[in-house]
C-alpha cells in the first residue's frame, strides 16, 4: 500500500514539473545570436593567448625536461654498465695478480729449497773430505807409530838386557852383540808380539 502511494506520488509530480517547465521555456539559449560575436571574440582571444603561451613557453620546457630526464637516465645506465665492466676487469686483474704471485712464491720456494739442498750437499762434501783427510792422517800416524814401535822395543830390550847382564854377571857385554841377538829374536818372534 505504501509502495503504491509512493509511486503514485512520483507519477503525479511529473505533471507538475512539466507545467512548471512549460511556463518558462523560451527555447535554446544557444541559438540566440545576441552574444555570438562576443563569444567568438573571447574564444579567439583566450584560446589564442593560451596557444601562444603553451607553444612558445611551456611545451618546449616540458619536452626539454622529458628529454633531459631520458638522457640522464640513459647516461646513468651507461655509467653503471661501464663501472661494472671496470670492476670485472679489476677482478680479472686481481685474479691474475694472485695467481701470478702464487706462481712466483712457488718458484721462490723451490729455488730456496734447491739452493739449500745444494748448500747442504757442498758442505757435506767438504766435511766428508776433511774427515777423510783426518782419517788418512791418523792412519798415517798410526802406521808410523806401528813401524817405529819394534825398533824402540828392541832398543829397550837391548838396554835392559845389557843392564841385566851387568848386574848378573858383572861384566860389560858388548851392546852390538846383544842387539844382534835381540834382532834375531824379534825377527823370529816378531809376529807373536806385534801382530805383524
Amino acid at each position: 500500500m505504501v509502495k503504491k502511494i509512493y509511486f503514485q506520488s512520483i507519477f503525479f509530480s511529473f505533471f507538475f514539473i512539466k507545467e512548471a517547465f512549460a511556463a518558462e521555456s523560451g527555447g535554446m539559449p544557444q541559438l540566440n545570436p545576441e552574444f555570438w560575436i562576443s563569444q567568438i571574440f573571447w574564444l579567439v582571444l583566450t584560446f589564442g593567448i593560451m596557444y601562444l603561451v603553451l607553444s612558445k613557453l611551456i611545451l618546449p620546457k616540458i619536452s626539454n625536461n622529458l628529454e633531459s630526464r631520458k638522457s640522464q637516465i640513459l647516461e646513468n645506465i651507461e655509467a653503471a654498465e661501464k663501472q661494472r665492466e671496470d670492476s670485472d676487469a679489476k677482478l680479472k686483474e686481481y685474479d691474475e695478480i694472485i695467481s701470478k704471485s702464487k706462481h712466483e712464491a712457488n718458484g721462490i720456494f723451490n729455488q730456496a729449497r734447491e739452493k739449500a739442498l745444494k748448500d747442504i750437499a757442498t758442505k757435506r762434501e767438504v766435511l766428508d773430505k776433511q774427515i777423510d783427510n783426518e782419517i788418512a792422517e791418523a792412519e798415517k800416524e798410526i802406521n808410523a807409530l806401528r813401524k817405529n814401535a819394534p825398533d824402540k822395543i828392541n832398543k829397550i830390550a837391548i838396554e835392559t838386557s845389557s843392564e841385566l847382564l851387568q848386574k848378573l854377571i858383572g861384566a860389560n857385554v858388548n851392546n852390538s852383540s846383544i842387539s844382534a841377538i835381540v834382532d834375531d829374536l824379534s825377527k823370529r818372534n816378531g809376529d807373536k808380539y806385534y801382530g805383524n
Binding site: 512520483i10 517547465f21 527555447g27 539559449p29 544557444q30 555570438w36 563569444q39 593560451m50 596557444y51 616540458i62
Partner: protein
C-alpha cells in the same frame, strides 16, 4: 527561472556593454569561464614545467603525463609528420577538457555547450586542415575524394558522398561536442528538478540517478575532449599522409 533546465545555458553580460563598431564584444559569463579554463591550464602547466627533477612531483607528473598522452595520441593517428601541430592539438584538447570539466561544477557555465564556440573551433580546424592539405599536395589533395579500388560505375556517386562527408566534418565535429554537453547538463538539471519537486519522499530515486549521471557526465566530459582531439588528428592525418 531556476527550474528551467535550459536557463543554465543563458549567456549574460558581466559588467558594461562593450561595442566595437556594430559588434557587441561584452564580457559575459562565457568569457569568464573561457578565461578561467585557460588561466588554470596555464597555471598547472607552468607549475608542472618549472622544476625539472629526476623524480617528478605530482604537478610535474600531471603535466608530463598529459604531454606524453597527447603526443602519443598524435603520433598514433597522424604519424610523425604531425609534430608541428602538436602544440595546437594539445591546446585544443586541454581547452575543451577544462571547459567541459569546469561545467561539471554546480552553478558554473559550460563554454562548450554552445554551438557557436564548438563551431568556431571546428570551422578553424576544417579550414586549417584543408589549407594544409592543399599546401602539401596541391590539387592532388582532391584525390581524397576518389577512393582507390572503386568500380568506375560507382565513382560519380562515391565522389559526391565523399565530398558531402568532407564538408560535413565541421558540423559533425561541432554538433557532437555541443549536443553531448547540452544534453548531459540538461538531463542533470531535469533530474535535479525532480529531486526538489518530489521532496523527501520520492526524491531519493532521481537523486541516486543524478549521482550516477554526474559520474557519467565527468566521463563524457573527458571522452568528448578526447574525441574532439583525436578527430582533429584524423583529419590532419588525411591532409598530411593522403592515402585514402
Amino acid at each position: 527561472m531556476a527550474a528551467n533546465p535550459m536557463s543554465q545555458f543563458d549567456v549574460y553580460r558581466i559588467g558594461p556593454e562593450i561595442k566595437v563598431g556594430a559588434f557587441d564584444i561584452s564580457f559575459t559569463n562565457a568569457s569568464l569561464f573561457m578565461i578561467l579554463s585557460t588561466v588554470s591550464i596555464l597555471l598547472i602547466f607552468n607549475l608542472g614545467s618549472k622544476k625539472n627533477s629526476i623524480l617528478p612531483n605530482k604537478i610535474q607528473l600531471l603535466a608530463e603525463l598529459s604531454y606524453t598522452f597527447v603526443s602519443k595520441m598524435i603520433s598514433d593517428t597522424a604519424g610523425s609528420k604531425a609534430k608541428p601541430y602538436f602544440a595546437f592539438i594539445f591546446s585544443l584538447f586541454m581547452f575543451v577538457l577544462f571547459c567541459n570539466m569546469f561545467g561539471m561544477i554546480p552553478y558554473t557555465f559550460t563554454v562548450t555547450s554552445h554551438i557557436i564556440v564548438t563551431f568556431v573551433l571546428a570551422a578553424f580546424i576544417f579550414i586549417g586542415v584543408t589549407v594544409i592539405g592543399f599546401i602539401k599536395h596541391g590539387l592532388g589533395y582532391l584525390k581524397l575524394f576518389v577512393p582507390s579500388g572503386v568500380p568506375a560505375v560507382l565513382l560519380p556517386l562515391i565522389v559526391v558522398i565523399e565530398i558531402i562527408s568532407y564538408l560535413s566534418r565541421p558540423i559533425s565535429l561541432s554538433v557532437r561536442l555541443f549536443a553531448n554537453m547540452m544534453a548531459g547538463h540538461t538531463m542533470m538539471k531535469v533530474f535535479g528538478g525532480f529531486v526538489i519537486s518530489l521532496g523527501i519522499v520520492g526524491g531519493w530515486l532521481p537523486l541516486s540517478f543524478s549521482v550516477a549521471l554526474t559520474g557519467l557526465e565527468i566521463l563524457v566530459a573527458f571522452l568528448q575532449a578526447y574525441v574532439f582531439a583525436i578527430l582533429t588528428c584524423i583529419y590532419l592525418n588525411d591532409a598530411l599522409n593522403l592515402h585514402h
